[in-house]
Symmetry: C2
Subunit: 394 residues, 2 copies
């Protein structure tokens, strides 16, 4: 199985050449399910029939020691790089750095990524996840809010099972942005012997009070929508209006005022309806943000959103009583990339995380990302870190 | 009337001494109504029976040339300084700078402030305002969303009528924070011959796209609450949950991550309910922000909130087609105080406003406010600008 996901059909028969590929990875990706009969959370709750989607780029070498795990952000999926169709364009969020000859070089590394539990895109055909929208086999109904709370550490444990199913015991690197950084940090803290390099992008070692409050504000519109109905909406109208507002807040907070003011103007949404004359008239930027949110809402699930909020809120490296201990457990050389304009993960917290990892002598490189997107520069402007990434991975 | 508001009862009989007060202003404030038979908005809509509350500190001199007008922020009222009861504590938002011997010296200046139209605190006994929650005399019912859209310029025009009713034709200074800064800027742009000094705190010349989007996000939870019912809730349950969420967003955006992280920790709201085990468990910071919002919601009106959002969104100095012209119209020496951490009024926009006012030779002083509150440092940390204010007013 581990050879077929990076190239479909015909190429699979050439498995004997895979240790030294004849061609560079051509960007065609196949999403595959990873199934577990059951998964027990760190809190001790057992979830039957857990399935998550995964995809990979490049090939696993015989020593199985060329693996880079990519962990995804809050509204992300396992689709970090590549195209699903031979004729399509690459649509991965980190295509800029993953591919043949790129810093995360698919000629050299086997790069794997999986959908988390409670992935936001429960209704996205390219996402496979288990969460509140999944059927609880004990009842035959969707779990709704009866689904157990899951944490970043649970996400890591699912990934560990996935990797072990492919005989992978150690990682050349683990890398993720935002919620992906939390997973990467947790990997390096929980399994220091397995992680050779940690790359944390626009994330920190703990959900600080600002992030707790920000996530709380994101969740609120969903619970405010009467259609949410305590999470029981799978036989009825879903809380789409609330979910849209939640997603709009994510877009706004994950960006920065520089982006808004350089991208938009004060045009009205409808040139015949002046907001100074009509209390229901709006500005174009409002309409655009609503349209973006509406598109994302189509493939998202509101309960999954709430579970992701909780997973992020409960995060502290090591999931114990001490952030210092959780970060001291990290032994892997660490690269932290962040933005001083980040309005989600406060830069102060990122710098503090670096200090705590470094406190016992672990090597940490801390670099800023430039751009006008704030938090999102960690996803959209990652190419500026290409040289740093290339050097760090060698 | 103009002599009695700063001191009640007995002192009024000493009117002959008022030009040279026997005692310093003792901080007792009387809120008074200013009534107009009708008010016509800049858009040409006529609103009958308009009443706003006002209060003043210090005394008006005979020349009527010692007047400082204070214009209030989004969730503020005319209560900039002083106590309502002789035995109470001062409860004004700028008590730090208004009073005997303070930078806005009540021994020298007559300082007046009024509630705006559509003031948020429609249910606050210390607020008098006219807006959607007021009775439309033509129908005998609350206006609801039939109330005309009002703008910052309309707020200014009501203040102009109030001042003229006291025989005041020019202002020693006009000063306001945030939405108050918009009013102050509009005063100086619309009536350059009447304004001797402009003090704009944490505000700029225009609602930029970032602010348009931020205000849009603030308004959304109200419209999402089923009780809002297109603004028709005055005979029913008001949209309190939506209003609370709206107010929570205001609190969060008006602060800064430094404040959140220095003020709160990761304590749970209920020490027996662990958010890692219970999807409905929360953190203490969430509960605190909700409690603050709930208290404010008690005296606030949801439709008024929406009208304030619109008033702020539609603002551009001069209310014409050109920000440059609107700001070039300002002739008064200008002091602008702002925070580089402001997440509501982007510092870039504040600096640009200063440049445009200065472009034709108008004197502008631009100073930063320090603190961990971001936008709110303009209200809560104003004392640090005391020397600057004192010098600027002389």
């Amino acid at each position: 199985m581990r050879c077929t996901q990076w190239h479909s059909g015909v190429i699979a028969s050439l498995g004997l050449f895979l240790a030294s590929p004849l061609w560079a990875w051509d960007g065609v990706v196949e999403k595959q399910p990873f199934e577990m009969d059951s998964f027990t959370t760190q809190s001790g709750e057992t979830i039957p029939n857990v399935t998550v989607g995964w995809e990979a780029y490049g090939e696993l070498n015989e020593a199985r020691d060329n693996v880079i795990l990519i962990t995804h952000f809050f509204s992300g999926t396992s689709h970090a790089a590549g195209r699903y169709d031979q004729d399509g364009e690459p649509t991965g969020y980190w295509d800029a750095i993953i591919g043949p000859g790129k810093p995360l070089d698919t000629d050299e590394y086997y790069i794997i990524s999986s959908d988390t539990l409670v992935n936001l895109g429960a209704n996205d055909p390219n996402v496979t996840t288990t969460g509140p929208a999944s059927i609880n086999p004990d009842t035959g109904e969707p779990w709704g809010m009866d689904f157990p709370v899951v944490t970043i550490r649970d996400f890591v444990e699912v990934q560990r099972e996935l990797l072990e199913s492919q005989g992978i015991e150690s990682l050349h690197a683990v890398m993720g942005a935002s919620m992906g950084a939390l997973q990467a940090i947790e990997w390096a803290s929980a399994y220091p012997d397995r992680i050779e390099r940690l790359i944390s992008v626009i994330g920190g070692g703990v959900a600080d009070p600002w992030l707790l409050a920000t996530l709380s504000a994101w969740a609120a519109p969903i619970r405010l929508d009467a259609n949410w109905n305590e999470g029981n909406y799978y036989d009825d109208e879903p809380p789409t209006d609330g979910l849209k507002e939640a997603l709009k807040l994510v877009t706004l907070n994950a960006n920065h005022w520089q982006w808004a003011n350089e991208t938009f103007n004060r045009d009205w949404a409808d040139e015949e309806r002046d907001p100074a004359q009509d209390i229901n008239a709006r500005y174009a930027i409002e309409q655009t943000l609503d349209d973006i949110a509406a598109t994302r809402a189509e493939t998202s699930d509101a309960n999954h959103f709430l579970y992701l909020v909780q997973a992020n809120q409960t995060f502290m490296a090591g999931h114990g009583n001490s952030l210092e201990k959780g970060l001291a457990a990290i032994e892997a050389p660490t690269l932290m990339l962040y933005s001083e304009k980040d309005l989600v993960f406060a830069p102060q917290g990122v710098r503090r995380t670096a200090e705590l990892i470094e406190a016992d002598g672990t090597d940490v490189t801390l670099e800023t990302l430039e751009g006008n997107r704030g938090h999102l520069d960690g996803v959209l402007s990652i190419d500026q870190a290409s040289d740093t990434l290339r050097a760090f991975l060698q």
